[in-house]
Symmetry: C2
Subunit: 80 residues, 2 copies
Amino acid sequence: MKAKIKVTLKRGVLDPQGKAIEHALSTLGFGGVDEVRQGKYIEVELEETDEARARAEVEAMCETLLANTVIENYEIELAR
Amino acid sequence: MKAKIKVTLKRGVLDPQGKAIEHALSTLGFGGVDEVRQGKYIEVELEETDEARARAEVEAMCETLLANTVIENYEIELAR
């Protein structure tokens, strides 16, 4: 089973990478961009085949290692 | 319109960040993990409301700035 995890900064947390992209896009002539936020995307290939157990395991991974839950949110999507 | 962009390394491209996560997970006692790949996740808030034009614009952003298409793939999802 494959877990696709998006880790994003919470609203209100300063995002200098996003700001840098925003600025670069405007320099390159892309107008009409209101805001850019950058996060991480992680794919984890699991041996577990049960969806509920896989989700619980990936949640534990996010809480302990993959996301800093003080400033980041995470979103898990499971696929076969 | 909001564009959600996933930028991932192509198959076969070495991913040291993914390997580091893999190793850390195993050290933390998470077994049954076959492979980890890390990519980037970018959210762009656009003023454009037409889906086709928004997609074309975001594709141009990916090709010129957001992804290095020699070693990376990108995937665009649009949401209102």
